[in-house]
């Protein structure tokens, strides 16, 4: 990894991770280390395991980890419940944000923020402070305030759902954000708003892992590193120029590469 980050503890360290779903091995030996301040992009064709990797990091129990290690700030992540991971600063922006009728966005966000604050030993957020925080972040994401009183994602358009994910991220200020295809289905205006929201969060103490199928997002969220995932392994890593190469050549060559390393 790069020389400035050598002295710091990695935020995320994945070592030879294997995971299955429904008896099928999806991740077949992932290695990835992410240091504070870095933005990593994970690209790859459909079915390469990108979303599985994101969900395993968040703690989804649909996937069974069969071997390997995932360390978060040096601690074993895999033994932690999803809520503990979130409380410790991991945020997954869902590829398909879930609709929860009957639970308002405001209630949801406040409960989430307070759970994180509690873990840090901080008191519950003051109602007025919370409202002003939420308003600021909504303005950043160019969202209507009326969305706050609506049920979580219920009746939201695809773009609104994705924006809502990044809005939540902006409020919760995670240390490690994993964005799972947050760009797919967005028009260019929404893409710019979402990217701007993500870029606002970039900082020396945070890390962001961007999972995407398309290079387009990476024009707006410029990564430090690009990894190409195919058939459950990272088959190629490089700088931001790798994304552009992929855009030129497509994933066809990558599949060949994956076959070669089997």
């Amino acid at each position: 990894m790069n020389k400035t980050s050598m002295s710091k503890t990695a935020i995320l360290e994945i070592k030879d991770l294997h995971a299955t779903a429904g008896g099928k091995e999806i991740l077949r030996g992932i290695n990835l280390t992410v240091y504070p301040g870095e933005v990593h992009a994970i690209m790859g064709p459909n079915g390469s395991g990108k979303s599985t990797l994101a969900q395993v990091i968040a703690g989804r129990d649909l996937y069974g980890v069969t071997s390997g290690e995932v360390l978060y700030e040096g601690d074993d992540l895999l033994t932690l419940a999803p809520e503990e991971r979130a409380q410790r600063g991991i945020f997954l922006a869902f590829q398909y944000p879930v609709e929860i009728p009957g639970v308002s966005n405001l209630y949801f966000l406040k409960a989430a923020l307070n759970a994180i604050r509690k873990r840090k030993g901080e008191p519950e957020v003051d109602a007025m402070d919370f409202l002003s925080l939420v308003r600021r972040k909504m303005a950043l994401m160019e969202m209507e305030e009326s969305l706050l009183n609506r049920a979580v994602n219920a009746g939201f358009s695809g773009g609104e759902k994705k924006r809502n994910e990044i809005f939540q991220m902006a409020v919760l200020e995670p240390r490690l954000a994993v964005l799972d295809e947050t760009d797919s289905g967005l028009d260019i205006d929404a893409l710019k708003i979402v990217s701007n929201g993500v870029n606002t969060l970039r900082g020396p103490d945070r890390a962001i892992v961007v999972v995407t199928h398309y290079q387009r997002l990476l024009n707006h969220i410029v990564p430090d590193y690009v990894h190409v995932l195919a058939q459950g392994r990272i088959v190629k890593s490089g700088g931001k120029s790798l994304a552009l190469e992929l855009e030129e050549s497509g994933y066809a060559g990558i599949e060949e590469l994956a076959e070669a390393v089997r």
Binding site: A81, P82, E83, A86, G102, Y107, A112, Q168
Partner: protein, 379 residues
């Protein structure tokens, strides 16, 4: 039993006693009681006693203005069709009486509060008569301790163009038996809403029946939460007896432990009840593999220009939603409670009495905690 009872009322009561004597308690062979066995009630034989209530006494009212009561009492709830109505009609000693004169808006909700004592049977009998163009909200609550049997009947007359909202809170003890009938007669253009909330009781059966005249709007909503070995049966009937009436029905159930639930919703549309608009929905959230629900809509439509829809669902907690909440830092237990509350919420939110909504929100969370702590609950 009541000195001031007029002969006509005495006759109604005599016939009710006769009817019960002939038929006895219903059995599971009776279609209306297919999923609910009342043999435990029959066997218990708790001695009868006058109910203890706060509210205007029916017994006192009967002495003061027998005419008004005579006109209505026992005229709507059918002793022929329901053995427990017969039992109540024959044996009731007291209950609540509410009369709202015409053109009157009652601002504050009227409370009728029953507290049952152990090892007794009570037959609370309520009569609510709302005059034309009047408006009132009523809360009828049942609580108690120990083993006992409450057999309540409430008759409600909603006068022409009146607006009546009725909340029944069944919060009986965990070992009790509770059977209740709410029989509603809606005069022209009246608007009646029922919110039937069942939380307590070992064996519970509710019958909520409304007869709608021309231009009426009738709403029957309900929420039942059963845990442990509880059995909660809700039977409803909306009788569209005349044209241009609309009915809305939403019943939601949450079942945990090895509890059982029953929902049976009847909608009758009589031959000349054209332009009827009826909608019925029953949704159930089953939280444990040992819990069961039997749900059955029964539509009998004799008119041809009507709109009637019905739907029933039975489901579990949404695992995707649960993970989503947890992935934002909300603990598993809280996340489950939030989802269960969200499910119940759209029944609670339809209640037009803010303090009842707040009360139910708290009561529901307390019940969820209780269910989790008691061995029967997987909540």
């Amino acid at each position: 039993m009541m000195a001031a009872a007029t002969s006509e009322l005495q006759e109604i009561r005599r016939r009710a006693a006769e009817s019960f004597e002939t038929r006895g308690y219903p059995t599971k062979r009776d279609e209306e009681w297919k999923y609910t066995s009342v043999s435990a009630i029959a066997k218990a034989q708790f001695p009868a006693e006058a109910p203890s209530l706060t509210g205007n006494s029916l017994r006192t009212a009967l002495e003061q203005h027998p005419g008004l009561i005579e006109e209505h009492l026992g005229r709507y709830a059918s002793s022929e069709e329901n053995a427990f109505v017969a039992l109540n009609t024959a044996h009731f000693e007291d209950g609540a009486f509410l009369h709202v004169p015409r053109n009157t808006v009652v601002e504050e909700p009227v409370w009728i509060d029953y507290t049952a004592v152990p090892d007794r049977t009570t037959h609370p009998r309520n009569l609510i008569v709302v005059g034309a163009n009047s408006q009132v909200r009523i809360v009828e609550r049942y609580r108690g301790s120990g083993r006992y049997f409450t057999n309540a009947v409430t008759e409600i007359v909603a006068g022409e163009n009146s607006v009546v909202e009725h909340v029944k809170l069944e919060e009986e003890s965990a070992q009790s038996f509770h059977v209740a009938t709410i029989q509603v007669h809606q005069a022209r253009n009246s608007n009646f809403k029922s919110h039937n909330i069942s939380f307590g009781g070992l064996l519970v059966r509710n019958d909520v029946n409304a007869v709608l005249s021309t231009g009426c709007e009738g709403t029957l909503n309900g929420l039942y939460l059963a845990t442990g070995k509880q059995h909660i049966d809700n039977h409803t009937a909306l009788d569209h007896a005349a044209p241009h009436a609309a009915s809305h029905e939403l019943y939601k159930g949450i079942l945990d432990g090895i509890s059982t639930g029953v929902f049976n919703g009847k909608i009758y549309v009589r031959k000349d009840a054209q332009k009827t608009d009826a909608k019925q929905t029953n949704k159930n959230l089953v939280l444990s593999p040992g819990a069961t629900i039997n749900t059955k809509p029964e539509l009998q439509i004799l008119a041809d220009d009507v709109r009637c829809t019905h739907g029933a669902t039975v489901g579990q907690l949404d695992e995707e939603a649960l993970f989503y909440l947890r992935a934002r830092g909300i603990g598993e237990i809280e996340a489950r409670d939030v989802l269960i509350y969200a499910f119940a919420r759209d029944v609670i939110e339809r209640i037009g009495i803010p303090e009842i909504r707040e009360y139910l929100e708290k009561a529901l969370f307390e019940r969820l905690v209780f269910s989790r702590q008691s061995s029967g609950g997987a909540l």
